[in-house]
């Protein structure tokens, strides 16, 4: 009796802050995770439906599953960089062009100039990073909005491809061919290749950087509230430039993987890839307004994108352009969901 009275007195004296904290618990199980969770669920639902519809034609075979990664590793690598960019509240339109430039550099330098291929790989990565760095500097120092800066980068990189050559150049370099063809055999005639491994590595790098480094947390802070990030003493200039440099690196690596995939370099490669990457990242739960997003979510974004392709190829009668429509519908769905979450979060804050 006495005890319970004591309790009630105590709880009556709990300060406002505590009470609010308690009240808020329970129904706000961090809203920001919901889009990413939805993406993961969506993938499994889609995979299940595919299994029901096309199970007899081998949809559920391991080979189909691994091909999700072998076919799209290059997109995934670029999506890791894009995740950082979008979390910071920016956008990078240059990824497709930078990747194409990468393929072109590799093909031209090894085939036409006969340069050392492993050196060229490094050079291609350096060129991509440097372009990203330049765009970051443009954004940070001259306050050119990311959309414009990376649009400039996009035209520049695309133009450079055609300056190098207007032809498609086939890669015959034995070392590059060996790298591209190298694979780890898995059961059921399936395999994973170097691209998948590099994608996995980049994904781990992305997760660790974003979760466990000051730079990564700075990216979130920057995307959450730029002004505050500055006032809290974060090196926002370094962060901003770092983000685009990293994205440039990812795009260049993406180009390297694409070169492994197609054994060619061509200025017309990867037109519009930036849109596929951006939509995958957004479907994977990254808020376009910045501040929220996870590389693992983007992984599922890529997987969803890829499973739509699978649906169409397994169906066999649909035009491949249905991919675009499906991606469009999904994007719409996820954007509306994000708006809704932002709205709900705003209302909740309004109440307290």
């Amino acid at each position: 009796m006495n005890n319970s009275m004591n309790n009630s007195v105590n709880s009556g004296m709990t300060d406002g802050a505590d009470k609010i904290a308690e009240r808020k618990r329970g129904f706000s199980i961090d809203l920001k995770y919901i889009p990413a969770i939805a993406a993961i669920l969506l993938f499994f639902v889609a995979y299940g439906i595919g299994g029901l519809l096309y199970g007899d034609r081998g949809f559920l075979r391991l080979r189909t599953f691994t091909s999700i990664f072998t076919d799209n590793a290059y997109l995934g690598v670029s999506a890791v960089g894009m995740t950082l960019v979008i979390v910071s509240g920016g956008i990078d339109l240059s990824v497709g062009s930078v990747a194409a430039l990468s393929t072109m550099l590799i093909a031209y330098c090894t085939e036409e100039l006969g340069m050392n291929s492993s050196l060229i790989l490094c050079a291609a990565l350096a060129v991509g990073s440097f372009l990203g760095f330049l765009m970051g500097v443009l954004i940070e120092k001259l306050s050119v909005p990311p959309f414009i800066s990376t649009l400039i980068g996009m035209f520049l990189a695309r133009g450079l491809c055609f300056i190098i050559s207007i032809q498609s150049i086939t890669i015959n370099d034995t070392f590059l061919r060996a790298l591209g063809k190298w694979k780890i055999k898995l059961p059921q005639n399936s395999y994973i290749n170097l691209s998948v491994i590099l994608f996995a590595v980049m994904l781990v790098v992305g997760v660790v950087v974003m979760r466990y480094t000051r730079f990564g947390r700075g990216v979130y802070a920057f995307g959450g509230n730029r002004q505050s990030a500055k006032l809290m003493g974060l090196p926002t200039a370094r962060i901003q430039i770092g983000i685009y440099t990293f994205s440039g690196f990812c795009s260049a690596l993406s180009g390297v993987l694409f070169a492994f995939y197609t054994f060619s370099g061509y200025g017309r490669h990867l037109y519009g890839m930036e849109m596929d990457v951006i939509s995958s990242v957004v479907i994977g739960g990254t808020l376009l307004s910045g501040g929220v997003g996870y590389p693992l979510g983007s992984l599922f974004g890529i997987m969803i994108y890829s499973i739509i392709l699978k649906f169409i190829s397994f169906n066999g009668t649909l035009s491949s352009w249905w991919t675009k429509i499906a991606v469009g519908v999904l994007l719409l769905f996820f954007i509306v969901m994000q708006r809704f979450i932002v709205y709900v979060a705003g209302r909740k804050r309004g109440r307290t």
Binding site: D18, V208, T213, R214, G224, M232, G233, K348, T352
Partner: protein, 515 residues
């Protein structure tokens, strides 16, 4: 000099080494504005020092000079006996001067722990050690009796909690001076009490605290000393007990205060024409059966509690909400006001209650803000010529006494009172016949309040019909010829002429019997 917590000497005033922060002869000029004129400010250990003054008196500028947001033109800042020149807020913070602003400057998407530590998280090798970082955050918050989940994102907590977290962040950087700029403006009573507990605790630990607020009661509750600024000049430094409230206000507003007493309403004349009349107007879920008249050269006060229908009535008149029953008669003809554009065309103007949200476009210049409503009336295709815009802006800047270096200053950079005047100018530019003012004096200081009231009366004299909605009964009584009492979404009475005083209004609001 070693700091011992709680070693506050009783003879604090005499000891020189008690001085933590000393600013002397601070001069700061902006283009067209002499913001600080030879201002001195002294903060001692274990002292809560309020900095008072009207908007535009130089409080914020002084704070910004002390924290390195602005550089100073002349003068010296000494911190613990050494000359310092803070170059940035970060630099000031490293020196030991931390500040927390009115708007919480944290990242809503990061966790509580991160907001306290971002940029200086505890690391293990190159990686963040989340366990230790969160543990530290919990310990720091426990010092303020806050036991909250530090892993949740900041935006899942109320503004009050966020404010505390901002203070926790500021303090963790071994601060000795804490500057709190309007920390209580978005807090409720319980939360303010809680904040004051924290402030007292910090004070007892020997920290020097600078406190800025508009709430006089809070100043008297928490402060030991007070420094008053006016128009960028130092009025003086006082001990709390030697300065009664009325003296404080007088010193803050200077001679303007007398003018407040001179504000007197315009005499109503019966033959004034009715400009707009509401006849048994109802609107879905906002007002029921409201009838009233606004006459030329008359100020009608709207009194009532929040949600009583005062603002809602104005919304209906301005076409923001549609009336579901009854008629609105404008100059003798019934009108349908379906949108604000209709209302603007009918020469009705509306200064909304929440000017930050509904009125001020901070990123546009004073000129652009003024021209806005006129442009809306003319339609977007009839461009108001640039020269004309400047003439108009300059005219209103002079007419209303808007303190701005020029018409191209961003509105967001002006003080609250001046922003309100610009909003007023925006509507005056449309040459309205009916002016609806919803809480025109909220959030601005005493002097500016008097000015706004005087302006209201001047406009009334010129023939405008004015609705003056306010929760400050004192103001309503000063300016109104007639007061409409609103309660529970309907009009419950009307007071005029001789019966007008605060008591009568209060009784009418509370009582409910039709007067």
């Amino acid at each position: 000099m070693v700091m011992e917590p709680g070693s506050q000497s009783p003879k604090e005033d005499i000891l020189k080494e008690d001085i933590l922060l000393e600013a002397s002869g601070i001069e700061k000029r902006f283009p067209g504005v002499h913001a600080l004129k030879k201002v001195n400010f002294t903060l001692r250990r274990g002292e809560v020092h309020s900095l008072m003054g009207e908007n535009g008196a130089g409080k914020s500028t002084l704070i910004k000079c002390l924290t390195g947001v602005y550089g100073i033109d002349e003068g010296a800042i000494r911190f613990r006996g050494r000359d310092i020149r803070p170059e940035s807020p970060q630099h000031a913070m490293r020196l030991g001067i931390s500040s927390v602003y009115q708007e919480v400057n944290l990242c809503p998407n990061l966790s509580v722990a991160e907001n306290i530590f971002v940029g200086r998280e505890l690391t293990k090798g190159p990686f963040i050690d989340w366990k230790r970082t969160e543990e530290r955050a919990r310990n720091i918050l426990a010092r303020f009796d806050m036991r909250i989940d530090v892993r949740r994102s900041l935006d899942s907590y109320s503004i009050a909690v966020q404010q505390m977290i901002a203070i926790a962040r500021a303090l963790d950087v071994s601060a000795q001076v804490l500057i709190l700029d309007e920390p209580t403006s978005s807090l409720d009573k319980v939360e303010v009490a809680k904040l004051f507990d924290v402030i007292r605790r910090l004070k007892n630990q020997g920290m020097g605290i600078v406190f800025i607020t508009h709430f006089l009661d809070q100043v008297y509750e928490i402060s030991d000393k007070i420094t008053i600024l006016r128009n960028g000049e130092l009025v003086g430094e006082y001990r709390m007990e030697e300065l009664p409230k009325i003296a404080l206000v007088t010193k803050m507003v200077g001679k303007d205060y007398d003018e407040l007493a001179q504000v007197s309403r315009v005499e109503a004349r019966e033959d004034n024409k009715v400009v707009i009349a509401l006849d048994r107007v109802s609107a879905h879920r906002s007002i029921e059966n409201v009838s009233l008249e606004l006459r030329k050269s008359e100020v009608v006060g709207f009194a009532g509690l929040l949600g009583s229908g005062r603002t809602e009535t104005a919304n209906v008149v301005f076409g923001l909400e549609q009336n579901s029953a009854g008629t609105i008669v404008l100059r003798g003809t019934a009108v349908k006001l379906a949108s604000p554009v209709d209302a603007i065309r009918c020469r009705i103007a509306f200064c909304p209650e929440d000017r930050k949200r509904d009125g001020v476009i901070g990123d546009l210049s004073v000129r652009e803000n003024i021209v806005l409503a006129l442009q809306a009336r003319q339609g977007i295709f009839k461009y108001v010529k640039r020269k004309q815009q400047y003439e108009m802006a300059d005219r209103y800047i002079e007419l209303l006494g808007i303190a701005t270096p020029d018409a191209d200053k961003k509105l967001g950079e002006l003080s609250g009172g001046n922003q309100q005047k610009v909003i007023l100018a925006r509507w005056l530019a449309t040459e309205p016949e009916v002016l609806l003012l919803d809480e025109p004096t909220r959030g601005i200081d005493v002097g500016a309040k008097a000015e706004i009231m005087k302006l209201t009366l001047d406009l009334c004299r010129e023939g405008m019909a004015i609705a003056f909605i306010s929760s400050e009964l004192d103001e309503i009584v000063r300016v109104s010829n007639k007061v409409v009492i609103m309660r529970d979404r309907t009009k419950t009475g009307e007071l005029d002429g001789k019966e007008l005083d605060q008591d009568a209004i209060l009784k009418a609001i509370a009582g409910g019997e039709a007067v």
